[in-house]
């Protein structure tokens, strides 16, 4: 029974840790499927986290915080669009720039506005997203096997967790069952064809980037308003890059993205759980090994040793209408 409880706990923290990855990964999915590489996921999450926590603590409202997180994150997505769609700049360079601007400005503005060394004030309970306890979660806790699964795994998360997991089927529906989704995928594969059909490539890509911004904003809000009660500098700590790795791992498909993010979240949860405890047969696994594993797996996948990851064909290429 102890083993079972331990497993449920690891899975529970897997869910918590994979939510920001999942949101960022789906965010990247929209923009990369539309043919815009976005390594600025990290930066957009970071500004989202900062804007969310700052607004929540100033206005004392979690939802205003979330709104602000989305707003600022979309603004950064539009900067990326302005550089890489309108001015046909290098998309990777633009993403790198956004990451730097985000990292610097969140710390500097945080320090200037709140004077707590780059942190925002600790959020009170009304300013955060609290856990939602599902009906009967406490009553069934005692039931063997199903009880803990229901009350720990399914119930008791914040609203953003459910939003993240609902975003998976929603994204699938948008991409594969709507006209917008068809066009979005087309513009990532062959923008000239979309243009010939009389649809604006630039406007379509901008809309995809707005979707990206909304999702990274929610991801950031989750970090600073659910996982942590306030913003801490550099709190994304490479999650945007892991999300990008997960996106490649998922071969740019929404449901795969969920499983990839759960896998990476699981590795993270496991490395926290196993810290210092030796495993049978293998002995002590260094923390650094577990931390590096998602990246190593992605490299192996990219090298084509586990299936082949083929990116959208027009990814990274600015569209030039005529020469």
């Amino acid at each position: 029974m102890d083993v079972f409880i331990a497993i449920v706990q690891v899975l529970d923290s897997t869910i918590r840790l994979s939510v920001p990855l999942l949101l960022a990964c789906l965010a990247g999915l929209y923009s990369e499927r539309a043919g815009v590489f976005d390594i600025g996921l990290e930066g957009k999450m970071l500004v989202g986290a900062f804007a969310g926590a700052a607004a929540a603590s100033v206005f004392h409202s979690a939802y205003l915080g979330l709104g602000m997180a989305i707003l600022i994150s979309v603004a950064f997505a539009l900067i990326h669009g302005f550089a890489s769609i309108t001015h046909r700049g290098n998309q990777i360079v633009s993403g790198v720039a956004i990451n730097f601007i985000a990292a610097g400005s969140t710390i500097m503005l945080g320090q200037a506005w709140f004077q707590q060394g780059g942190r925002t004030p600790a959020l009170a309970s009304g300013e955060r997203f609290g856990a939602i306890i599902w009906r009967g979660a406490d009553a069934v806790r005692g039931v063997p096997i199903l009880g803990p699964i229901y009350s720990e795994l399914i119930s008791g998360h914040s609203v953003l967790v459910y939003v993240a997991f609902l975003a998976v089927p929603f994204t699938w529906w948008v991409l594969f069952r709507t006209r917008f989704g068809l066009r979005l995928r087309a513009v990532g594969e062959n923008p000239a064809a979309v243009d010939t059909a009389g649809i604006s490539v630039a406007w379509l890509r901008y809309r995809a980037l707005i979707c990206t911004g909304v999702l990274t904003g929610i991801a950031g809000a989750y970090l600073s308003m659910v996982q942590n009660g306030g913003f801490v500098k550099d709190m994304t700590a490479g999650k945007g890059y892991i999300a990008l790795a997960a996106l490649i791992f998922a071969k740019w498909k929404p449901v795969n993205a969920m499983f990839a993010c759960l896998l990476f979240g699981f590795l993270d949860a496991l490395s926290i759980r196993l810290q210092g405890t030796p495993l049978p047969l293998i002995g002590k696994v260094p923390v650094q090994f577990m931390q590096a594993l998602p990246y190593v797996l992605t490299v192996i996948l990219l090298a084509g040793f586990i299936g082949k990851a083929i990116p959208p064909r027009a990814g990274g290429v600015p569209y030039v209408k005529e020469r």
Binding site: V96, G104, Q111, L244, L302
Partner: protein
């Protein structure tokens, strides 16, 4: 890939446009300073004063510049081959291990002038090897170099932390760093050069690696514009198809370019370790690999431009430290913002002002932009 823009005279392309882009980046940075309630002009004055006001400041500026020359060259060499090496950070980080091994093994036996070349080889070799795997994967298996080098940054970080905490740390110490290097692995300072001009320096880490950086800048110029290999790299960079048609081996050129890039990034490790701290510690790279991207873009991938851009960023780093001290509302992270803005305006938005400048040139003198003057048409 053909550019959708007409030609400008060289001085405008390489001089005017970067200056305008830089200017815009600083104007936006000025707004950020306003946002935190300080005077941007005073901030700029403090920054320049801190970087060049005293001999001490100049020495620190050049010390930082040394680091950025290496990483800037690294990014530029790869970029000439149309490869975006975002992994200079990781390459420099593991190269620190190369430096550490050479220094820890020989610092009690060899004098610095024998150890330094060995350490250069060690750093360059490890950096090049770390770049080899992404290069091989790009060339042979088609995995995108940006993603793999980025992943390798994180892997490098884990590897170095593991080795520093577990293997290289002396048994009796808590801090995750190697033991302090002995005299043999401490590089001589160059502060006396600045003192020749009458300035006083208490202590600054400006050291002989600076000369190595300048030598490398020259060698990169020779490589790119005066050798067959460089020609092949540029050909591949402009048009992989043309390169293939000309019989240039794609695999070879990608791997060679990335290994040179990695070696240059690796040499960066010499400056903070042997030149300043005299050990290899956590975080000795501290973002220099990413600054290299900004430096290379600013310098328009030319060694002279890179050296100048590196000095500019050295100035920002040194002046930024003074600025944080003078104006408490502005932290050192201001530099990170400026860095981001420079990458944005000099890199991603480099074409933003081009049409206007072209129009301006065309109206002043049409021939400079390659247009024939319109004759015989009455207005």
């Amino acid at each position: 890939m053909s550019t959708p823009y007409a030609k400008l005279p060289a001085w405008a392309d390489y001089g005017l446009i970067p200056v305008i882009n830089l200017f815009v980046a600083f104007v936006v940075a000025g707004f950020v300073v306003l946002l935190v309630g300080e005077n941007p002009f005073r901030a700029a004055a403090v920054l320049v004063e801190g970087a060049f006001g005293r001999g001490q400041g100049i020495a620190f500026t050049l010390f930082y510049a040394t680091t950025f020359i290496f990483t800037g060259l690294s990014v530029a060499v790869a970029a000439h081959c149309s490869l975006f090496n975002i992994g200079a950070e990781g390459q420099a980080y593991v190269a620190g291990l190369g430096v550490a091994i050479v220094c820890l093994a020989f610092d009690s036996v060899l004098p610095w002038w024998l150890l330094f070349p060995l350490a250069i080889i060690g750093a360059a070799a490890v950096g090049a090897l770390w770049a080899l795997i992404p290069a091989y994967l790009q060339a042979k298996r088609g995995s995108h170099i940006v993603i793999t080098t980025m992943m390798f940054n994180f892997i490098a970080f884990s590897v170095v932390v593991y080795l520093l905490v577990g293997v290289l740390k002396p048994a009796n110490s808590m801090a995750p760093q190697t033991r302090t290097f002995l005299d043999g692995a401490q590089l001589p300072k160059l502060n006396w050069i600045i003192e020749l001009f009458g300035a006083k320096i208490r202590s600054a880490p400006f050291n002989i690696t600076f000369l190595l950086a300048l030598a490398m800048a020259f060698l990169v110029w020779v490589l790119i514009w005066r050798t067959r290999l460089g020609y092949e790299m540029r050909t591949y960079g402009h048009s992989p198809k043309a390169a293939r048609y000309a019989g240039i081996s794609e695999t070879r050129i990608i791997i060679v370019a990335m290994m040179i890039s990695g070696a240059l990034a690796g040499m960066m490790a010499l400056n903070p370790t042997m030149g300043d701290q005299h050990n290899v510690a956590l975080d000795f790279v501290s973002g220099a690999g990413f600054v290299g991207i900004a430096v290379a873009l600013m310098g328009r991938l030319h060694p002279i431009g890179i050296v100048l851009a590196a000095i500019l960023f050295g100035m920002l780093y040194q002046g930024g430290a003074e600025l944080a001290f003078e104006m408490p509302a502005i932290s050192r992270d201001m530099i990170v913002i400026i860095q981001g803005l420079v990458i944005l305006f000099a890199g991603a938005l480099e074409h933003m002002f081009r049409p206007y400048i072209q129009a301006m040139f065309a109206s002043i003198s049409p021939r400079t932009v390659g247009m024939e003057a319109v004759k015989g048409k009455g207005a």
